[in-house]
């Protein structure tokens, strides 16, 4: 498909994913309730409100992580159920273009989740957001999301082909994604001033997150082809 630009391929993949999403309503009907539920469960499992506000940032990102795994499973089940991903591959469609398309779709979905989870944290855990922390909070969310989406897409593609998909994905994603979990948690703590942390403490972590995002973005863009290759 020499004549088709890489961007338009990515764009088509992104639009396709979002359309499937809009049609199946999985996001609204299932994933959002699920992630809200995870938050509630954490609250139950700990059920000591005093510590909840302190650990809230960690829990938010943990919930994001679990939600992402579910989203990725879904996003690649769509691809592999009738062999669509294989068809793309057989048609010689540029894998890295496909990667960026799937990546973008995942970013969109994660962003929605995060906004809602932060809201939930405010309500359930009584977290307060300070105005000065806002910039840090947003930039953190953005770079963390980009990184997570890259990891999710890479391993989603890998797992899409194999049989034990359901179980392999979480095993691969969680450890690699946990640096993001850690970094984002610290940064958000700084943004929220949890436990008397100051904003300034947040920025270095943000740096870590950005490095992570860039690394895995580049890696995915190159590795996606070999990964889904038979």
């Amino acid at each position: 498909m020499a004549e088709v630009s890489r961007f338009s391929v990515s764009w088509a993949v992104l639009m396709k994913d979002l359309r499937i999403e809009r049609r199946s309503r999985v996001m609204i009907n299932q994933i959002i309730p699920f992630s809200a539920l995870v938050m509630v469960l954490f609250a139950f499992a700990l059920d000591a409100t005093n510590i909840l506000t302190r650990v809230a940032p960690g829990l938010i990102w943990l919930a994001v992580l679990f939600s992402m795994i579910v989203i990725v499973q879904r996003g690649f089940a769509v691809e592999s159920s009738d062999g669509a991903l294989e068809a793309l591959q057989a048609a010689g469609v540029d894998p890295s273009a496909v990667f960026w398309g799937k990546w973008a779709a995942l970013v969109v979905q994660l962003t929605v989740i995060e906004v809602l989870l932060v809201g939930a944290a405010v309500l359930l855990y009584g977290v307060e957001i300070r105005a000065i922390g806002l910039v840090l909070l947003v930039t953190t969310a953005i770079s963390a999301t980009c990184g997570l989406a890259a990891v999710g897409t890479i391993y989603g593609g890998l797992a899409a082909g194999v049989s034990g998909r359901e179980t392999l994905l979480p095993l691969l994603v969680l450890p690699v994604a946990s640096p993001v979990l850690i970094g984002a948690t610290r940064a958000v703590e700084a943004a929220l001033g949890t436990g008397g942390t100051t904003i300034s403490e947040g920025w270095p972590w943000l740096g870590l997150l950005s490095v992570f995002a860039v690394t895995f973005g580049v890696a995915g863009s190159f590795a996606f082809g070999p990964l889904i290759e038979e």
Binding site: A12, K16, L88, V93
Partner: protein, 223 residues
Amino acid sequence: MNSSPTSATESVIDIQGLVVVLGGYPALAGADLCVARGEIVLLSGPNGAGKTTLLRACAGMVRPVRGSGQVLGFDLIAEREAIRSGVGMVGHRNGLYTDLTVEENLRFWGAMSGADSDEVAAAASAMEVDGRLASVPVGRLSAGQRRRTALAVLVVRRASLWLLDEPHTGLDAAGRDQLDDLLRRATLSGATVLFSSHEADRAARLATRSVRVEAGRVEVGDG
């Protein structure tokens, strides 16, 4: 895909001694095949002979452990990407998005292969998945209607080599005829077709030449 070097050479597929191992089993045990441009070649043979594997190998979808070959003038091992973008393959699975409608699937593939909406519409009507069906999610189609959609996608792809694994499966009488002259027309415009089938008589009518696959090897039969 007129850019492909085949305009120089005549043979679109030319493989020697291909050995493909799947899960430790030699699905192909030294297959030789040579197909010239414009041919419609039938792969016949018993279940488990290696037809699907041979087609996938020609599409650059499985990597041989031995042997060599050229497809569309590109090297089978070194230039898989180039081969793939010139090849259109329909396997046992349809490779469609069941949540999307027929039209959306075709549009998607149009975007993938730079076909405009007219070509898409033409492809849909060629396999008769236009009209009511166009707006039905593929997941709600009957088996044959899905197969028709998959073949329409193939038309959208405008490939120069068509590799079809039992393409007539699930198609009704009319659909089979439509497929047949679709393929004939494709070959007239320079494409080449390699397909497998178990319906000896009907397939023989379509094919310009037929080869028999047996126990992982190709035995040239009478066309």
